[in-house]
């Protein structure tokens, strides 16, 4: 018992010590290391996944690279740590990674109790249903009694249960751990519909022998704002992550792409001049190079380019911009002014 007490006190002290150290600036740590450490998914095509040469690709990966460019002007000054749904938050809390860009849904609970801070959303997702055409279903409300293929352990499982219950319908969950196996089970007819984040449904449908035999139902049953997360309490670091993402959105809004960014340097527009650092101010305020936004656009691209490259209509995922279009096009992507 005494041993237990002593070790409890020791642990408490250690935790307090850890917490106090966490307040030291992440930016200085990162500058000293010479790279940032980013937690990513590892298995999610279009968001975070190594290609056949082991090079990381995806929307979340590019987000992390944008942060690296903002600080070091080098898209490769980042080390990726693949994390599972279970290990992701600990890795951030323990300081193993500096930023978590792992298709992570921002929720109140995670923001508060887990001691995280979420930054600008880099993808608005939501949960939907994929069904075979021959089922003759036009709306998710007609799925009463359906066998539903679903991945375990994430909010997905909970959302679909809530949806069926609130609509007074019954469901038979078919729970399968692995995305590939889940898709196989669905195509083999083991369940009537497959539910997952809408970003994944299109990709799953593309795997089918005949994709035209399947449709995605119009209902989106949950809100999944996916955002990069940082440790709570380091505001400067949060600002940097935040404005690295926002710079890509703002560039698209201003019509700046990786191709025309050099030409844009000569623009007369004061908004563009401020944004690209021709007129100084923004960089200093963030503690970064004045050219940080220029570098991001030059090396990574604006949000539209990143979106199309990783998940857009010409990729196997084939996702429309939808909610992820600029606010001027009816989407939710909106950047505050850079001034």
């Amino acid at each position: 018992m005494k041993l237990f007490k002593t070790s409890a006190v020791f642990l408490a002290l250690l935790l307090i010590f850890t917490a106090s150290v966490a307040l030291a600036g992440t930016l200085e740590d990162v500058r000293a290391k010479g790279f940032i450490q980013a937690g990513v998914n590892g298995d999610l095509f279009g968001f975070g996944k190594p290609d056949e040469k082991g090079v990381w690709r995806g929307l979340d990966v590019d987000t992390a690279r944008a942060i690296a460019v903002a600080i070091f002007n080098d898209p490769n000054a980042v080390k990726f740590t693949p994390l599972t749904a279970k290990t992701r938050f600990t890795a951030l809390q323990s300081g193993e990674i500096d930023v978590l860009t792992r298709n992570c849904t921002q929720t109140l609970g995670r923001d508060t109790a887990l001691g995280l801070d979420f930054c600008q959303v880099n993808y608005y997702d939501g949960q939907g249903f994929l069904v075979p055409k021959k089922l003759g279903v036009k709306s998710a409300k007609e799925l009463d009694g359906a066998a539903v293929c679903v991945l375990p352990g994430t909010t997905t499982e909970l959302n679909v249960a809530d949806f069926f219950r609130s609509n007074g319908m019954k469901m038979k969950p078919v729970v399968i751990e692995n995305t590939a196996e889940l898709a196989k089970a669905f195509f083999a007819g083991r369940c009537d519909c497959l539910t997952s984040d809408a970003s994944q449904l299109a990709g799953t449908r593309a795997v089918a022998a005949n994709p035209k035999d399947y449709i995605i139902l119009p209902e989106i049953i949950s809100k999944e704002p996916l955002a990069p997360a940082v440790r709570h309490g380091d505001n400067q670091w949060k600002d940097i992550v935040n404005y690295s993402v926002l710079a890509m959105i703002n560039a698209e809004e201003l019509g700046i792409t990786s191709k025309n960014v050099d030409k844009m340097l000569k623009s007369k527009d004061p908004k563009i001049k401020r944004f690209l650092g021709v007129t100084a101010g923004n960089g200093k305020a963030l503690g970064l190079d004045e050219k940080f936004a220029y570098n991001i656009i030059k090396k990574i691209g604006n949000y539209g380019e990143v979106f199309e490259r990783n998940v857009g209509v010409n990729t196997p995922l084939g996702i429309e911009r939808g909610l992820n279009a600029l606010w001027t096009d009816g989407g939710l992507m909106y950047s505050p002014p850079f001034k």
């Binding site: 642990l11 250690l14 935790l15 010590f17 850890t18 150290v21 966490a22 030291a24 740590d29 590892g42 298995d43 999610l44 095509f45 996944k49 190594p50 290609d51 056949e52 040469k53 082991g54 090079v55 080390k79 740590t81 693949p82 994390l83 599972t84 279970k86 290990t87 600990t90 890795a91 809390q93 323990s94 300081g95 193993e96 692995n178 995305t179 590939a180 196996e181 898709a183 196989k184 990709g203 799953t204 593309a206 795997v207 022998a209 196997p316 995922l317």
Partner: protein, 364 residues
């Protein structure tokens, strides 16, 4: 004498046709009773129903070097997933241009293992060969000198990681297990209690829990900024886990030794270490070779559990390839390939253990 030699040999009577040769064998082994006949027929029917379709799928209709699109239009197996992604499956994140390095390291490791199979080679020179081999392997994997680019351990993955976790895990766990087993038999109460607590605590939790502890809980106890290499953490968890099981297997062997052996050793004036080293352990360890090896085999397969702490071992790199929509539909082919690699490793171990048993068999 002579009369006997000159005697005409009697005409040989051949056994009936139905009891020798192929027919005889079939009758004796497959249709010896009505029950066996039914079993044989059922087995034949099942084989007929399964083997030709599998053969058609795996060989006749299969694709070997096509693109994913071609595969999707075909009925057969799509082995193309292997050549198209082989380097990521085998080497994970290791820098693409430097992947010859883990390849050489693996070949070296396998060669050393093969050479060490033969007990005639167990000399001092072999120990030196291992030391040199390990240093060379470490250099190849880590780099940083001699013009080799430095590679972080976080970039290690695939087959080298699986082999490394298993080979080092098993070689470290075995002696540790023996020591724990001896400790548990010890007459010193402190040592005995510690060993019992350790063994029972580790055996009381699943390996997944230990891995989670090492990857999720352990870092929280460390001061900010201080991190212990994740591979090292997993390796330590595997060693701790396997050692506890080995300890119990070895304890079985120790308890199987008759009291007379201990007394004989004592009467010859041997001290504890001499008794153990010269009399007890050589016999006890020999008895427990089969259970030890099955323990080691299951430990080798358990290394694939590091998936859950996001280490990219052989199984995880394969799964990662399968998350690509282009190849997602061909999981069976990929898993069969990985299963073959695991099978080869495990079969090597079990056949070696049988050989060792035969060589060490003293008839006791």
């Amino acid at each position: 004498m002579n009369a006997e030699i000159e005697r005409q040999p009697e005409e040989e009577i051949k056994p009936p046709v139905a009891s020798v040769g192929v027919i005889g064998w079939i009758r004796a082994n497959l249709f010896s009773s009505w029950f066996n006949s039914i079993l044989t027929l059922i087995t034949l029917y099942v084989l007929w129903k399964t083997v030709p379709p599998f053969f058609r799928w795996a060989v006749i209709d299969s694709n070997w070097f096509s693109t994913a699109e071609v595969c999707r239009g075909s009925e057969g197996a799509c082995w193309s997933i292997i050549p198209a992604n082989i380097r990521f499956i085998l080497f994970g994140f290791f820098p693409y241009e430097s992947q010859w390095r883990p390849l050489v390291a693996m070949i070296l490791l396998v060669a050393l293992l093969f050479y060490s199979r033969d007990r005639k080679h167990w000399k001092k020179s072999l120990a030196y060969a291992w030391v040199i081999g390990l240093v060379v392997m470490g250099l190849l994997m880590k780099g940083g000198i001699l013009g080799l680019a430095s590679v972080e351990t976080t970039q290690w993955g695939g087959l080298p990681l699986t082999l490394m976790l298993s080979v080092f895990g098993l070689t470290a766990a075995y002696p540790l297990g023996v020591i724990l087993a001896l400790g548990r038999q010890s007459k010193m109460p402190a040592v005995k209690t510690l060993c019992i607590i350790y063994i029972e605590m580790i055996r009381g939790v699943p390996l997944i829990t230990l891995l989670f502890m090492s990857s999720v809980v352990f870092p929280l106890f460390l001061p900010e900024g201080m991190t212990v290499n994740v591979i090292l953490r997993a390796q330590a968890a595997i060693i701790m886990f396997t050692a506890a099981y080995i300890a119990e297997v070895v304890r079985g062997g120790l308890q199987g030794m008759s009291k007379g052996q201990y007394e004989a050793a004592e009467s010859m004036g041997l001290n504890y270490y001499q008794t153990m080293r010269l009399v007890i352990l050589p016999q006890a360890l020999k008895i427990v070779i089969p259970p030890t090896v099955s323990q080691l085999i299951s430990a080798l397969k358990d290394t694939s559990l590091v998936v859950i702490i996001a280490l990219y071992d052989l199984l995880k790199t394969t799964q990662s390839v399968l998350s690509d929509p282009a190849w997602m539909a061909f999981s069976s082919e990929a898993y069969i390939f990985v299963a073959l690699i695991y099978f080869l490793c495990c079969y090597f171990m079990s056949s070696y253990s049988r050989r060792l048993e035969k060589e060490l068999d003293t008839g006791l």
